[in-house]
Symmetry: T
Subunit: 72 residues, 12 copies
């Protein structure tokens, strides 16, 4: 982490295929409003099951974006 | 939790009567700006005391709202 | 806790009215199979929200029942 | 929390009716000796069960009292 | 999570190829006895190594199944 | 831990003489129903006191048994 | 903490000189948008090193601001 | 734990021979002033080493005594 | 930590200037009654903010004093 | 885990493609000096983001190697 | 802990007879390379079971040795 | 944190004057052997007290150094 000031937000993303996809989904969706996301940390990994099959993975992330980026 | 993308916020509400009221107070107040709140989780329960009586309960919540809801 | 041997199970109950009711719901429901429940500990308190109102409370419990009770 | 110096004690109270009553019971009882209790935080909520009914709730609190109050 | 009562069990699954496969293995195996599994949460991810290569991944899950499902 | 699928249960055992005895008591008692216990991890160590003497030790364990063992 | 409703945000500040400066940097920077910050709690203290010297300290804070303050 | 009100204190005891002895040492010593100790929970187990030999074990306990017991 | 028996108390101190001053304030104030304090551990660091400036730092400590010291 | 003595080290690996690759990278790299690595446990999963895309995953591991292996 | 600089390592020892023996085994074995070990803290206690009997105890320790001691 | 592989070590430093000095002392001392230290994280802050005055601060750090740096 560089010497910027950050704000940290908590996000939840989901995917039917993999944990990595669920992470990317959370970041992509958030990035529409938060253009300066720089890093994430996985807080929790979970999912839903039907008939003994994982239906989708859900990943809770903490994600940091630079405060500078808010004032273009 | 369904397969939506969520943002999670942390809120503090208080009530002079009960823990459930303090939860509801945090959610009601936040809901004026965050219309798509879907779930909460209690992070901490505390309160203030005077003359040996609880004056009010304070509850810290994590609350999730769907990101879709931000774009009506 | 007395000197019995215990098995500890994790249960989730819910109620539209209060945290205490959600605890009781988890215990009542479990007690149909686990007749010797002796104590519980709240692990997590959460709930669901619609239109800015709590719809129901959910409480996750660890609950201990005496192993002796399994062999009537 | 104001700028006083505090000592923090850990207390356990119980009630047959509610979590809030168990909190108040711990504080009331402690307040006979600790007249300057100012705030509490719930550390653990648990209880005892008999025949599938909660017999009483027990709440473990951290409670802070001002050190100034000890020297009237 | 809907308003059902749940029991939560802890499971360990393993796979030589991926974390997602280890999750699925735990759920599939448990589902033979626990037909109403609804969700899981990853508690721990680990694995075994030989000659500098991961031999298999092991994932510890908490998994919730509806109590209603036990009485067909 | 080998590559088996496990189920993890939580057990409480007690002994008037030592922590090791309390561990063994929990495992022995559980083993009457769970014949394939393979490992344990101590979650909590506590006990009861009377007249300034430890009356008995209580140990809370997580214990893993192979799911294969359930189908002889 | 008084009986207001709060929202809690997570912030990261940094300083080349001290932990206190890094705290103040996070708060000053955030305060440009969040004028009603009332309290903070340090979540993590870390930093970066070059040639055996600390280059800067980074402090992760939770910070609470009154929700009332958003509607002047 | 019965339905009494408790105060919980944190104690450290040590022994050159065993963990159980260190627990007993903490309780015995505290019991001179705190005559109504009822239970303990081990918070931390550590020790000191010299020349590759454990010199003594130190055990940190939380211990609960009934508040009633203070007023004989 | 030497082989003494200790009692551990939790203290909160505050200072307008630094974290170290808040630690010292908690210890000085407690030391009027607890003359045998030997060590402390920081449990939490927080503070209050006004107009974007830290007003004071608050530090929660666990502090250990030798039980021998109570009987001069 | 067998009955060997182990030393546990903490490692960080990274990969642009997956969490599993980041785990393998940490282990491969460490294995050049630590030839007797036997198991790992994931401590933290995080990553870096640019323009709304994950740039690389970083995984923090605890990894155990047998002490016997150090003396060939 | 005195005012030395320390490095902390994590070790795992095992014993067929007791927790104390497993601690001593970890320290003895490590001490062949780390001659200046001064203290340890138990991080986890676990073990393996066969036919309802504990086969051996495993203890994970954090152990601190003085850095000065490395340069005789 | 960049995309290097890291090893993480745990260090303890101390200072009679400030927390920042204790951090620097741990890093300086370790850096004689570990020339590629890049970042640290504070794990614990504590200290020793005599006659109601802090004698010295002790800071426990996790510190990461690049594995590449080991092979000059």
């Amino acid at each position: 982490m560089s010497k910027h000031a950050y704000k940290v937000v908590e996000l939840v993303g989901s995917s039917t295929s993999s944990i990595e996809d669920a992470i990317q989904a959370a970041i992509k969706r958030a990035d529409q409003t938060l253009r300066t996301l720089r890093w994430f940390e996985v807080v929790q990994t979970r999912g839903q099951v039907e008939n003994g099959e994982v239906q989708h993975y859900q990943v809770v992330l903490k994600a940091g974006f630079t405060l500078e980026g808010e004032y273009p």
